[in-house]
Point group: C2
């Protein structure tokens, strides 16, 4: 693991060698000790040789590798499969993985997959496909161990031994009644550490945290992580157990959602493909809407400068400090907004904390503002005036710049911490209230403050 | 779960009521059905009543709640414990949790904890404490199930039944030789689904992915997530098994590391406390270094403006478009840098992909630049010239602005995608090469381009 770049390159070379010289037995021995995820990563560099490599793997490992491949490669493979091969792979897959694959394939491939799944699987796939994207239902699996509360531990272990091989996990077992209502759960650990004749009813845990099929997948993954569970049961509105979500799927969800948040914070529409796999036009489409919108908004800032054109012409030195004031304002604003956005997504900050957040940011802003102003004053006087002999940098000019700094920092922090919480309150995604958006607003504010101080102190 | 804000408030009110009227039995019944993490969240609002609430809980639940509390509250509780109480809680804790707590406590509390741990635990705590922060060793637990390869499945299950109650997980068991070298592993599922007289040697998995005590905790957590494992074994340099890292701890690590990355991207020093729990001065210290540094760098931009003062005085209209050009450049740059930074932290992009990344960004930049220029030209001509009758907005001026736009977008995307990869290459953290830093560089570049075009086209 943690293959170094050159280890990996070496392995790739060996594989290509074997493929070329048709040393398939040797190639197979090379692949067998690897993890499925690593083989999949290697496959992605092999292009049209993937089906060949794939056929060398034992059935079970082949299925694991298949799940880890990109949907593009999966499609190529499925198209290259004979019907028997397709059926063999499908039989080895867990249900939730099959559903993930079906969701990404074009209609004609989906039809072929459904034709070659057994009728029970087909029914389950169709049911899971009905749940909306990003819902708990869409990421759950229906392959869990269910027990009756009247069973003894011995019965339960027998049932697990019989049905276990087809289940996604046996670490947590779920106890249901005849109407499939969720009554309790117990871990395999509890089962193993109990006496053989203990009755499930007496040892199961009945304080159950469950989620509903339509709950948001991110919230589900967060609570799985918060409570440190290995799986969460998914119930319908009548509390009937319909599936479970396992910790590995929750980790994937969290990772995707974080990437989405980060993309939104940098003014991009979220994409669900890795950077190097996204086409040029797709990347363009994800980036241009916010760029356009922010460009148009930035013209207001230009408008403000136009309005004060005469003031600037009278004191040209002021223009030179515009970028510094705007950038510092933008940075202060994005620090505050990003702190609050992350706090919201970790459930550390709620809208009801608004006043507390504002009060905190005001105090931080005052200290930051004063510190920055002081540094700036020293720099103006020592560097700009004494060192570079810029006689236009007078004490009044420095006063304008430093007062603007304090006020800009204060406004920037306030705007930055308030907007994400307001966005959340009215049902918008707080993540879009990050740097680029805040910067545009703060730019305008800082210029207005600048010209106010300039006309007040310099009498322009 | 997913308690609504008002459910939670209601519960808090009930608890306060019970505390006031000393209805402890009722309060206990109120708390018992809750998850430990939820009780801990409630405790954090109870201040000095925490020790009282804590004593109402049954021993095991109390220990679970204790682990979930903030270190401040843990300290208050430990200080309020009698020696017997402290020993009771410590006996219930898993070793890795005890280590986490010890790491956060002041020396005097640590001494008391170590005094009241049993000698074996004390030894293990001291060993784990020796590993550097952020290393695999510092987050592992030494409480795992170890088996011998000569055992039968029956022996193994007996051993698990005997030692299981004290282990953090029994889902994965590790097979070691007499020198504690790691030989293989097997899941409880394999054990349960095998015959009683199967020998461990024959059914264990020997392709093991393990990590070393000094490996970075983030890399460990990422590979746990990548392979979908429930635990990873930690070995020393002689391949002796010293501990395991479980999936719940890995999820916490990933969450912390993402928060750190996000903070760095917004020009803050990372902090490991939740936003509302961080003191004003701490927040100030995390924010001011980058603000100062970026403020100083932004003065170069000012220097550029000063240099071209005469050009600006001759065509004052140019000043009005500076913010728009700078902001758009900054946004383009941060889109590219953030995409690349996230790709690096997900291991999707390596330094060897540099040329591929640059080629991709060049093409995206050209399309974005042309689209933004076109939109801008239309806006300049229709809105600024026709609608607002600004006769200074001539075709040559529009040409300067639009050409600058295309070149700025191109430079911004190039700088944005290159710097994180270069930072990674020379061993810096790519995350600091995000928006604020890129913006500062791009600001200067865009101004230089602007004045070049202005003097070329307008002959200033």
């Amino acid at each position: 693991m943690f293959e170094l770049e050159n280890e990996r390159t070496e392995l790739l070379k060996k594989i290509e060698d074997d493929l070329e010289r048709k040393q398939y037995a040797h190639l197979r021995d090379l692949l067998l000790p690897l993890e499925a995820a690593d083989i999949a990563a290697l496959c992605e560099e092999m292009d049209d040789k993937v089906p060949l490599m794939f056929r060398l793997l034992p059935k079970e490992l082949a299925a694991e590798v298949f799940v880890e491949l990109d949907s593009d490669e999966q499609e190529i493979l499925i198209r290259s499969f004979s019907n028997t091969e397709l059926k063999e792979v499908l039989d080895e897959l867990y249900l939730d993985d099959t559903v993930d694959i079906v969701e990404e394939m074009p209609a004609i491939v989906v039809k072929r997959i459904l034709q070659h799944s057994d009728p029970d699987t087909r029914k389950s796939i169709n049911e899971i496909l009905k749940y909306p994207d990003d819902s708990a239902g869409s990421i759950m699996t229906t392959e869990f161990v269910d027990l009756k509360e009247t069973m003894t531990v011995e019965d339960a272990l027998k049932r697990i031994r019989r049905t276990g091989p087809d289940k996604e996990t046996i670490n947590i077992c779920y106890v249901i009644d005849d109407g499939r209502h969720l009554l309790g759960l117990l871990s395999i650990r509890t089962l193993l550490l109990s006496e053989e004749d203990d009755v499930i009813h007496d040892i199961m845990q009945t304080n159950i945290i469950s989620v509903q099929t339509l709950d948001d997948q991110e919230a589900v993954a967060r609570s799985l992580s918060k409570y440190g569970f290995l799986a969460l049961p998914v119930v319908d509105q009548e509390n009937r157990l319909v599936g479970i979500i396992t910790v590995d799927d929750a980790m994937d969800v969290l990772q995707e959602e974080v990437t989405e948040d980060i993309e939104k914070m940098a003014a991009m529409l979220p994409s669900d493909k890795p950077y190097l796999k996204t086409g040029i036009f797709e990347t363009f489409k994800a980036r241009i809407p916010w760029l356009l919108l922010l460009m148009i908004s930035a013209t207001f800032t230009g408008q403000i400068i136009s309005t004060f054109e005469n003031a600037l012409a009278a004191a040209t030195i002021l223009t030179a400090y515009i970028p510094m004031l705007m950038d510092t304002g933008g940075n202060c604003g994005s620090q505050a907004s990003v702190s609050v956005i992350r706090g919201i997504s970790l459930n550390e900050i709620e809208f009801s904390d608004l006043l507390q957040v504002i009060w905190k940011e005001i105090r931080v802003a005052v200290i930051c503002g004063v510190a920055l102003s002081a540094a700036n004053f020293v720099k103006l006087m020592l560097v700009d005036r004494l060192l570079f002999h810029n006689q236009l940098v007078t004490i009044p000019v420095a006063a304008v710049i430093c007062s603007t700094m304090v006020c800009t920092v204060l406004c920037a922090k306030l705007v930055g911490c308030t907007l994400p919480l307001l966005a959340k309150k009215i049902g918008f995604d707080p993540a879009v209230m990050a740097s680029p958006f805040i910067t545009t607003i703060v730019d305008a504010i800082s210029l207005l403050i600048y010209f106010q101080f300039a006309s007040a102190i310099l009498g322009l």
